[in-house]
Subunit: 348 residues, 2 copies
């Protein structure tokens, strides 16, 4: 259970410039909020660096900054998102996620209660992922100099033996698998941000950790060629990057792409392509043809449910290297382009 | 030499929202700016995580967010600062700094030329420190949603065998050493920010990497009890944290504290205590009495000059645990308190 976090701190119920200043108030924020909520033996040392046990093999190292707005959205918040995103970047690299760092930039006047809510959510997400937030930093900027709160998490994971995942590994004949419905995060954020509601639907972010799904896949077949989580730029960006890095073509079958009907409806209404929208709990895997069905089965039966809607959606071809082509239900073909940029800023 | 970085990118000479959006413009920013300037085999993989070689021993892991203003200041800039700060946090933990990550939050409209200048400075600082920026992320927020640029760097270092540095290691009789003049960074920032100038003086930040100094110290005596870089909150904050964590007292001799005369003058005029001001290239070490002179000598003769003004400034006592006391030149004593918070916001 979480330890008690006594509020308000030092009679402040909002973040003060001094909370980021390395003095008594900063010390109090660390001691009364961050340490009790994220508590572990590394943070308890109160040094400026965590000393981690030796790893037996190679490491994976990743970082992401989170500037999502709103901070709290259907299906998640910036705290859980900042853990899931970094855990997923380690997982799809073939690593077992172990340790996270967290750097906070806070706006003067930000409510301490909201900060507590975010850190609590971060702590819960870290527990679920089997990782620890072992070191961190807090800076405070004046009013109007940032928008509430930004978080940057970095992560270290332990690379599995015998795994070689890279965006340059695609070979003609490989199958393309996606782990579930596409576009949920982006569309949920957009509707939440603009206060839209669609009758009968509950649009929620898919923010979720994928480390168990990846473990199930690699346990089934260690030789998976490539994996990426389909965040900013969505499926379109990931497939274009993979095709380009491996100098191969990709052909998608439109009718196999899993898109939730509420997401499809909202996306149509908003004029947004769900394939270009960020996901925060979905991955794309490229698997040799003969192993694709086995890996798909391992995904669909992964006990945490993150792969229950996994689908085989296309294949790698020798033709049109660097290009992604979609075969539509009507037998025609269209090019799936690399998105120019964000249809939705501050989605993660 | 740095590779050529063709500007403007895609006919944009300022940062667009799409540069942080995982699509074509983001790809271009990565491929034409970050990768050529920071180039290394890890970034070249273009995956979302760096796969690092195995380490033989324990690791140190640290993170810091940088929100300094102005971005360019006498003696440094946010790019070099973000490398030095993280390198120093690893070094004072007893580790050899190896790999960095960098997360950028940029404001829409930020000049690409300034971004290039910052990344170029970061690359130069990394080379000097023998570290590589192996993974990164860029987010862009709308105008007015951040103040130009924030950077969060995390770092991984390899812990030296037989070193045990911790803020709870202080023992009565230990000597307190500082590596050079105090308050330079904070006072230089403040005067730069307000356009003040003091005749005949050249106030410059002391931003510098301390990894070679720490190596020289630990080569001379591996049993150093504690080390901290004296950043936010200055010497006062560090010594109060050390005294409190080790439940010992500390006595300083005022006339031994190295403060540059121009810094002292500016600080007096501004009503600021140089002991409470951030340094970005100074450390505090706590060393057993019998080894203090040897370590001091190793610091003063460190070839990069970062320890040339090192001084023995006080000692650890059994009395007044948790309290730092200064003996002044007039034979009186005063308490050196933990600063409440920042006299100078956004100093690093």
């Amino acid at each position: 259970m979480d330890r008690h976090c006594p509020l308000p701190l030092e009679n402040h119920d909002t973040v003060q410039l001094a909370h980021g200043a390395g003095g008594r108030l900063a010390d109090e924020l660390l001691g009364k909020l961050f340490m009790p909520l994220l508590h572990n033996r590394f943070l308890a040392r109160r040094d400026d660096q965590a000393l981690l046990p030796a790893f037996s093999g190679k490491l994976a190292f990743t970082t992401d900054s989170y500037v999502v707005t709103p901070l709290f959205f259907p299906g998640g918040d910036i705290g859980s998102l900042s853990v899931h995103g970094t855990v997923n970047d380690l997982a799809v690299g073939g690593a077992v996620p172990r340790y996270l760092s967290a750097g906070f930039v806070l706006e003067e006047g930000f409510p301490i209660a909201e900060l507590e809510r975010v850190v609590r959510s971060m702590a819960a997400a870290a527990r679920e992922c089997g990782v620890e937030v072992v070191t961190g930093d807090t800076k405070v900027v004046g009013r109007g100099q940032c928008d509430g709160m930004f978080i940057t998490t970095s992560g270290i994971g332990e690379l599995r033996d015998g795994v070689d995942l890279s965006c340059s590994n695609l070979r003609p004949g490989d199958r393309i698998i996606v782990s579930g419905t596409l576009g949920d995060h982006g569309i949920a954020l957009l509707t939440a941000r603009h206060g839209l509601s669609f009758t009968g639907s509950a649009l929620r972010s898919d923010s979720a950790p994928l480390h168990r799904l990846v473990a199930a896949m690699l346990d089934r077949y260690r030789g998976v060629h490539a994996m990426r989580d389909a965040t900013r730029g969505g499926l379109s960006a990931v497939l274009n990057e993979l095709a380009s890095a491996s100098a191969v073509g990709i052909v998608l079958q439109e009718d196999t792409l899993p898109v939730d009907s509420a997401v499809r409806g909202a996306a149509e209404l908003l004029g947004i392509d769900p394939l270009e929208v960020a996901n925060e709990g979905k991955l794309v895997a490229v698997v040799p043809q003969g192993e694709a069905e086995g890996v798909l089965e391992a995904m669909r039966t992964c006990p945490d449910g993150t792969g229950r809607n996994a689908a085989l959606v296309g294949e790698v071809v020798q033709e049109h290297p660097g290009m992604v082509v979609m075969e539509t239900g009507f037998g025609s073909r269209r090019i799936v382009e690399m998105p120019l940029g964000e249809q939705l800023p501050r989605i993660c």
